[in-house]
Symmetry: C2
Subunit: 519 residues, 2 copies
C-alpha cells in the first residue's frame, strides 16, 4: 500500500507495454521503472534523504510523470507547484515546504530569475525541458544517465508522499499532506468509479500539478495503462492528442470541456476512442454538458467532486446518470454519491448528520482523508474533527444519496438561528430581469448576528429599487432569506483568478474593526 507498488506491478504484468508517450518518446513500463530507479539514485546522489521534499514547476510532460514516481521511489516527498502562481507565491511554497531540489522547465525560467537569492533551501535545480540546459542547472537526462538505479524505498502506509498546496487567492497557501495510504486508497476509489482498466490510454490535459489530474497519474499506473501528455491545454492540442494516441479517458474542467466541444474544428477529429470523460472542480453549465453529450454520444461522462484534502475523490455521478430524460434526468447536476471507500455525511455546525434535503456541510471520513496541513496543526484541527474532514462546501443530500452543492460554508450567512445560503438568494435575485450581477453577503447586525445583504449591479439602462428587489425575492424564497438591505454598484464585481466573485472583498467595508473573518 505504497505508491510505487503499482509501478512495479505494471512492470510485472506489462513490462513491454507502453507506459508514456510524449513528443515521439515512447517508453515501456520496464523502461520507465528503470528511469524512475535512476532518478531516485540521482536524488540520493544529490544528498536527498528519506522524507525530504523535492518540488517541480513545469508544464505537463513524461518527465513530470517520472518525477512523481522517482521521488516516491527515493523515499522522498513530492511538491508539485501550481503553474499559475506569481513568483512570490512560488517562493512561499518552496520555502514553506523546505524543498532542496527543484525541477523546472523553460516556461518557468523567468520565475526562477525573479526568485534568485530568495529561495532558502533549494540547493539543486534540475532542468526538465527539451532545450539546452541553462547555466547552473542540472540536465535531467544527463543526471539520469550518470546515476545508478537504486532499490525502491518501499515507504509505509503512513509515510508522507506529497505536499499539495491549496489556496492562495485569499489567505495563505496551505500544504496538504497526503500519505501513501491516502493516495493509494484514492486509486481504489477511482478504479471502479471511473472504470479504469487494462488497455486504457489517458491524456494528461489538465495540469499535472493538480491532484485532480493526479488521480490518473496514480490510477492509470495501477492498471498499467498508457500516459500521454499535452504541455498545457488548448482545444486543438487536446483534440489532436485524443485522435493521435487513440485516447480512451481524460479529465477536463468545465471550461475545457466547453472549449473542446464548441471548438469549430471538433468535427474534423476522430474522437471515437474516447469512452470516459471526467469533469469537475467547478460548476458545469447545463448547455455545455448537453452539447458534450451530443458531440460525444458514445463517451461516458462522470461528474466528480473532491478536494485536495481528500486525495481527491469524494463523490461521483457516473455515465448512467447522464441522461436528459427518464427517472434519472438531471442527476448529473448533482456532485454524485459517495465513492466506495468514502464515508459521507451532510452535517450541521456541531457535526450532527442532517436529514435528507437539509443544507449543511459536506464531511467525509476514511483512509482518503489527509494527514493534515503542513506545519499548521491549528488549521488541521479546524478542518478535521473526530476524523471527519470538513469540506467547507454547503450541500444537501437527496433520498438516493446524491449530493447537491449549494454554496461555500464561509459564504453562508447565519441570521438569528437560521442559515441562509447566499447562492439561493442570488438565484432569486438573478430571476429579476434588471439584475446582471449580484453577490449576497452577511453584514453585522446587533440583533441577528448577521443580516442578509445583497450587492447588485444592474443591466445598462435598467432600473429598479431595493424595495422592489426585496419584494421580488419574497415571492420566491422564505422571508428570513430575503435581503434586508441592498447596495448597488456600477463596476463589475471583483473576481478571483478562477473567475469567482471575491466576497471577502465585498464583505470587508462592512466588517471593518469587527471579528468576523473576511477570508
Amino acid at each position: 500500500m505504497y505508491l510505487t507498488q503499482a509501478l512495479k506491478r505494471s512492470v510485472q504484468i506489462n513490462a513491454a507495454g507502453p507506459a508514456t508517450s510524449y513528443r515521439g518518446r515512447e517508453r515501456s513500463w520496464a523502461q520507465v521503472q528503470q528511469r524512475v530507479a535512476c532518478l531516485a539514485g540521482a536524488l540520493h546522489g544529490l544528498g536527498h534523504e528519506s522524507g525530504e521534499r523535492a518540488a517541480i514547476l513545469a508544464l505537463n510532460c513524461d518527465r513530470y510523470f517520472e518525477f512523481y514516481y522517482g521521488v516516491a521511489w527515493a523515499g522522498s516527498v513530492f511538491v508539485p507547484i501550481n503553474t499559475r502562481l506569481a513568483p512570490p507565491e512560488v517562493e512561499f511554497w518552496l520555502n514553506d515546504s523546505g524543498s532542496r531540489v527543484l525541477f523546472i522547465d523553460d516556461q518557468f525560467l523567468p520565475t526562477l530569475d525573479a526568485l534568485r537569492g530568495r529561495l532558502d533551501n533549494v540547493e539543486h535545480i534540475v532542468y526538465v525541458g527539451d532545450g539546452e540546459t541553462p547555466d547552473g542547472l542540472l540536465d535531467y537526462e544527463a543526471l539520469l544517465a550518470r546515476s545508478e538505479p537504486v532499490a525502491d524505498a518501499e515507504r509505509g502506509y503512513e509515510d508522507l508522499a506529497g505536499l499539495f498546496y491549496t489556496g492562495g487567492t485569499t489567505g495563505r497557501s496551505k500544504g496538504v499532506m497526503l500519505s501513501h495510504r491516502n493516495l493509494v486508497m484514492n486509486i481504489f476509489n477511482v478504479l471502479p468509479t471511473l472504470q479504469f482498466q487494462a488497455g486504457m490510454r489517458w491524456l494528461h490535459a489538465a495540469p499535472m500539478f493538480h491532484i485532480a489530474d493526479g488521480l490518473a497519474t496514480f490510477g492509470v499506473t495501477a492498471v498499467a495503462g498508457l500516459h500521454t501528455f499535452i504541455p498545457s491545454f488548448s482545444p486543438d492540442a487536446a483534440l489532436s492528442a485524443i485522435q493521435e494516441h487513440r485516447v480512451t479517458h481524460t479529465l477536463l474542467v468545465p471550461t475545457m470541456v466547453n472549449m473542446v466541444v464548441n471548438s469549430p474544428n471538433v468535427a474534423d477529429y476522430d474522437l471515437s476512442s474516447l469512452t470516459g470523460l471526467t469533469y469537475g472542480a467547478s460548476p458545469m453549465p447545463q448547455s455545455v454538458i448537453e452539447r458534450a453529450m451530443e458531440v460525444l454520444p458514445d463517451c461516458g461522462f462522470t461528474h466528480a467532486y473532491g478536494q485536495t484534502e481528500c486525495a481527491p475523490l469524494v463523490t461521483a455521478t457516473g455515465a448512467e446518470f447522464h441522461m436528459l430524460k427518464g427517472p434519472h434526468a438531471g442527476r448529473f447536476k448533482s456532485a454524485g454519491r459517495a465513492v466506495p471507500g468514502v464515508e459521507l455525511k451532510i452535517a450541521n455546525a456541531s457535526g450532527r448528520e442532517l436529514p435528507r434535503g437539509e443544507i449543511g456541510e459536506i464531511c467525509s471520513r476514511g483512509p482518503h482523508v489527509m494527514q493534515g496541513y503542513w506545519q499548521r496543526p491549528d488549521l488541521t484541527a479546524e478542518a478535521i474533527k473526530d476524523g471527519w474532514m470538513h469540506s467547507g462546501d454547503a450541500a444537501y443530500m437527496d433520498e438516493d444519496g446524491f449530493v447537491y452543492i449549494v454554496d461555500r460554508v464561509k459564504d453562508m450567512i447565519i441570521s438569528g438561528e437560521e442559515n441562509v445560503y447566499s447562492v439561493e438568494v442570488e438565484n432569486a435575485l438573478y430571476q429579476h430581469d434588471a439584475v446582471v450581477e449580484c453577490a449576497v453577503i452577511g453584514t453585522p447586525d446587533d440583533t441577528w448576528g448577521e443580516s442578509v445583504h445583497a450587492v447588485v449591479r444592474l443591466h445598462d439602462g435598467k432600473n429598479t429599487s431595493a424595495d422592489e428587489l426585496i419584494s421580488h425575492c419574497r415571492q420566491l424564497i422564505a422571508g428570513f432569506k430575503c435581503p434586508r438591505s441592498i447596495s448597488f454598484r456600477d463596476k463589475p464585481m471583483p473576481l478571483s483568478g478562477a473567475g469567482k466573485i471575491l466576497k471577502p472583498e465585498l464583505r470587508e467595508p462592512f466588517w471593518e474593526g469587527q471579528d468576523k473573518s473576511v477570508n
Copy 2:
C-alpha cells in the same frame, strides 16, 4: 475502512433497493441495516463485549448474511464454521476460538447434540432455522424483535473482524485472523477484478462459511447489490435461482461448474442474466471450462486464486483471457496475475525473487495479508516472513505476469541441490498407458537428502516394470527428476475429503523415525 461502512453506504445510496432475497423474504438495505443494528443490540444484551467471538454453523441463508454484519456492527469477531466438519472438529473450532455465542440451523442440531457438555465457552445458542425453535435455544427473530438497535461499533482498521479456520484434513486447524483492513482491501481488489457494480445480483451458491464466497458477502455490499441464497449447492437449485432472481454474478468451484454446465436440464433454464462467473479453489479441467464457455457464451469467466490468509484474492485471469484461440489462448489455465493491491513474487526458499519461468513459492505482500494465526505465533512466523505471506503453493510466472501453479511446496522433493516438483513427474508417469494412478514423493536418501520415489497403480490387466517406467520418464523429463525407485500398489490411493491424494500417508512408512515432517 471498517466493514460496516459499506453497509451504511448502501443504505445511504440505495435505502429502498433490494439487499437480500431468500424464500420470498425480500428486504431492502434500510431493513437489513435495521436488523443488523438490532442483532448487535441482541449480542450486547447477551453480554457480548467488543472483540469477543460469535460463531455460526449453518447453511446459506439471509440470516447468515445478517450474522456477518451484525457481529461486526457489535464490534465482535465472526467465526464461520465449515459445514462439512465432524463434531470433534466443530468442537475444536468453537473451543479454540472461545466463542460464547453460536448461531445454528436445523441441519446441525445433531452435531450440537453430539457436543453437549463439550463446549467450554458457548453460553448462548441462537436458532436461525425456519422451523420451531428447539428447547434451550434462542429464537433468532424473537431475539431481534425484543432488541433495540445499537450504534455501529465503528471498529478500527487493525481490529480483528473474523476468524476463518483452515486445514483440518491433515494436522490441526488454524484460525486465520482477518482484520477489518484485510477484508476491506479485498473488496477493493474484487471490485475492478470481478467487475462488481451497482445493480448486480449475486447468488451465494458456494458455502458462506468459506472466504471464497465471503468476497461477495462484503464485495456485493460495497456496490449495494442484491444477495440471493441457496442453502446448499445442487445444480438444479443453482440453475433455478439464477433464473428466478435474474442473477448476474456468482462463484462456483470447478466441480459445481461441471455439475451445472453438464446438467441434463441446463437448456431448460434462462441463464441470460449471468454475466460474471468466478471459479477457483481447485484445478479446472479443460473440458469443463470449454463446455461452460459453450453453454454460457455471453458470460465472462474469471479464474481466481487466493487463500484464506489473503482475505482471499491474490491473482485472477479475467474474461478477456478466456479464449480458445488467438494470442491469449489457454491463458485461463493460469491462476492469473496479481490483482491491483497485491504485491506478488515467486521466491526461492530464502525469499529471493526468481526469474520468470523458474518454479518457486507464491508469496504476496500488502494490506490483504492476515494478521496471523489465532494464538499460534509459531505458525504465523513460519507463514509470514518480512511481511510476505508464503502460500505453500509452488508456481512459475510467465513473461506477462501470469502465474501457473504446479504443486504444493510441501510436495516438492529436494534432491541434491535440485527441486523436483511431484506434479511434473506424475504428468510424465501418466503418459505411460499402463499407469492408472500415481503419486510421487520424496524418500530419505543419505547422499541426496531426498530421493524421488513413485507410488504407482496399474490398469487392471496391464503390466510394466519399474525400469520401464523410469526409462519412459527419461524421455520426457530431466534425469534428476526421474524416479529412483518405484513401488506398485493394488489398492486405490488414500484420498482426502476434497479428493486429493494424501501424500503424507504415502510418505509415512519411508520416514518413520526420521525428521522430515509428514504433514
